[in-house]
Symmetry: C4
């Protein structure tokens, strides 16, 4: 295989050993970073990206923890400095419920602070409730403000007969209801040498941009003489640990922002001599219907691989 090389896209060329896949199925890079600063900012990024269930759970834990902490402080100031405690409940619970009423600023007043120390703790806790609430509002809104683009990629790329020759194909669709516009695609092939060096090649696409994206998009690389995949066999792809790197870019109308998505197909995720089944069509009422569940479906083709 005589392949024209492209420049390093930022993933490194010289390595000492075989490595795992470069781009994980969720779009992240398979790279470990040492010596990174850990900052409050990272906690914020964490809260911004976890699931709603986990975020709710963490918030509840934080809420119970901070109130328990202040309950202990109130006990330390002396339970006699809380007016209106219920004798039937243990002191800690009285203090805890008082703390809840203070932190959330409910403040019924049946439980009320007395004396300087307790009042100072109240002053502090109200302040923390004040700031904590601003923080949680910021976190919740940040989750909203961030484009949640979810591109569904077909499970497999295929190499199929195409216009006399062959082509590498895969398809994608917008999982969400949002409107994506002005899509752009870039596809690269990564192969490893026997000395573990990596090389990267741009794959030329039949159509690398799309104005609208309400349907599915089949991305096609025609394997002609200039393609690094020309006359390549499944065995060669495996030996070279080939990985097809996919970069999608588009404009998310709901946020007025450009969004990106990454994906990759390793050699063992490329099917040969199949083609994709139809994923959208019009019904008798004139409606155009796209069925995301059919995006992955392929069927064998009779023509043998070259």
């Amino acid at each position: 295989m005589m392949w024209r090389r492209t420049i390093d896209p930022g993933l490194g060329e010289k390595y000492n050993s075989r490595t795992k896949r470069l781009i994980n199925k969720d779009g992240s890079f398979n790279i470990v970073k040492l010596g990174r600063e850990l900052r409050l900012y990272d906690a914020y990024q964490y809260l911004k990206n976890i699931s709603v269930g986990r975020l709710s759970f963490l918030l509840l834990c934080f809420y119970l923890f901070i109130n328990s902490l202040f309950a202990l402080l109130y006990l330390w100031c002396g339970v006699e400095n809380l007016h209106g405690i219920e004798p039937g409940l243990p002191p800690f619970l009285n203090a805890f419920f008082f703390s809840v009423q203070t932190f959330t600023t409910v403040g019924y007043g049946v439980l009320a602070p007395h004396g300087m120390a307790t009042n100072l703790v109240v002053t502090l806790e109200s302040f923390m409730g004040w700031v904590g609430f601003a923080i949680i509002t910021g976190v919740v809104f940040s989750r909203f403000a961030k484009p949640h683009v979810r591109i569904l990629y077909s499970n497999n790329a295929i190499i199929a007969p195409h216009e006399g020759g062959k082509s590498l194909q895969f398809r994608l669709a917008n999982k969400r209801n949002s409107v994506l516009l002005e899509m752009e695609a870039r596809v690269m092939l990564m192969v490893q040498d026997t000395n573990f060096s990596r090389h990267y090649y741009n794959l030329k696409l039949e159509q690398s941009s799309l104005y609208f994206f309400p349907l599915s998009w089949t991305i096609m690389h025609h394997i002609d003489e200039e393609s690094p995949l020309y006359n390549v066999t499944p065995k060669e792809l495996e030996e070279k640990r080939a990985e097809v790197l996919v970069l999608i870019k588009g404009y998310d109308e709901a946020y007025g922002q450009t969004v990106h998505s990454r994906f990759s197909y390793r050699f063992n995720e490329i099917l040969w001599d199949v083609r994709f089944k139809e994923v959208y069509n019009s019904d008798t009422r004139g409606e155009i219907v796209l069925d995301l569940l059919k995006l992955h479906e392929t069927e064998p083709v009779s023509e043998p691989a070259l």
Copy 2:
């Protein structure tokens, strides 16, 4: 008609039947998506895009529902664990008003919780008020943060005599007071074959971009020999279910974001042998006045259609 074809803009070429219009009057695509994931995110997008009246109504319903729910919880904990209830009101209403005072953190304290179970429910409800408030703040602000571009398009496109030949024209203006800059327009023609295949053609525009957009903009496609509309008749457009697809892009100064707008004119929305009336001019005091209500107005022209 010998027409040069353009590539598929992402709306599909092969179909089994005649279909409805591609782009609805509100700019959405006439496509049904099956197998889509429904997520909390979609609820958020829904709340972000509905009218202010409907949002207020939904918020009020949610508010009454959550307080009724907690009222039932307080009743379940035993109405005797609420201090200060009014004997003249039914227990549910007492519990409901107590819930309101807890959820919104008013907490007068005349109604106050007693005992562990009730206090635990209070702890939970205050937490939900805390988080619920962060969520509603996020929703309200998201509605503000989103550019609300509203382009007013003339009800009809026209095909009118123009510089010896003919031209396809329509016009648009900014319905809002916001400043739009660096406008770009792209216009495509979609026609259907007898076998229901669709073809898309770019229409070349006299002026496809504009620095400023404080007035109206008349977009013109001169129908010359290279145009897919050359020598076409109204009957042909109808047979081919022609649809003129309009894409407008601009920069919204108030948000610092690029905004998009889509529109379409079907064959039956194209008027022949009329021209647009004047929509702006200067008055005697030197003021330039644009009247949006005149944007749709046309008048017949004497020259016969070719």
Copy 3:
């Protein structure tokens, strides 16, 4: 004057009368729009753009108004349904202070609601406090989130001797401490015919872009034979009601957004045969100092105007 015309930048060409300046000193367009929809959205835009003082005043008025309104509702429900009123204050003030304590969720509880009607009003007012607070948070944050670019333009443009010929010059600087990058400038000349038609010409600039913008920027158009200003006199500029339109674009680092600024110089704001004084230099300690107050300063040059 033989001038090459440019296309309409979106400000119209045919008019019936002389008009005022096109671009006001604050960058807005001198155009009146009729038939515009008034929406809640416009109120929001208004609140977003007024001064801090006026916003505070409006908020205080709104706060007093809403509490007065609810005070009347509480009176209508019967002042006897408010527990704990002070006999020494008039009923309205008692109801007003109770409303304040409810709307802001302070809820001391000395004043407390009684009976179903009053409690329902409380339910409604707490809800409105809840939502109103979300709205005010949204407005306040929107003001923060919006880039506040303030470009200071020299009061006058000048036509000065330059490299053997003449050039049109003006200068600008960033009034704020923010970092602006990748600046771009576009300058147009607008002139009116005797029949009130307007024509627009691009003026070619010596340097139309700048990487950084921490200092001042002197924008220069060299008046060569291709310039529409070649051999023009002050009298001609006045007769043609000439207006120099200035468009500045840059990237505001603090917001990660592109910002725009507009300005214009009318014929009577162009000075002849002067040059700009120095506005920045280095001092003896090696500090580079830019003095914004000197931006407007010019000095006469000995060479006579052509």
Copy 4:
């Protein structure tokens, strides 16, 4: 040295004296601006950019200050108009704690206002709590909403043997866990004449853009005959007070925004005849590991500088 000059990137060319470095290590410009307007907006920008610790401290100070202020107002209205004060505490503290309970809307009600003056102050303080909270939420969220890109630059640039000649190199990596894409680099050389004039030269890069940035990036300028650094010596660089200006631009995926970073190397921060040690490689388990702590490490090369 015969160097081709580039245009002024916006940092000025004519000066009266030697100046300090142009770009500080934190990316700010070494320029003092006089006559700048000070606005509330600047306070906001200040709060947005300081450290979390300092922000918390300032907020706490503000909280204590505003409550002390209102405490004085309540004393001025007469301490007898506060119901429920603790005789064991000084009047100021009683008023202070009442103020805290009002500003944060806790409002237990044990301390409660009496009389018109005190109630009016309560009305004002609740309003300020209402607005102040909106402001603090806005500030907190602004800090979250702003991309926090932190590029780590190698402490030194190096001039090292490279492909037969020499090259200027430095490297950088993303200190944070965020995903940066579509990086672009621009490098300029600034030198001062003996008359303190400055000149700027673009340095041509081997690779000036990168798709991905999960690893480190070594930026290289090959010093060929067209380079302003051709045959230059360390002594010449010092005489000319040379400064290498670095501009990095990329897309931050977490925010959907373009981010910028600036850096500079002065003549005394350029090492000669060393090369960079390896900063990433794959381990035996196939993991790719990047060690940020090694980014600055260099080792001598045997070949002598030309």
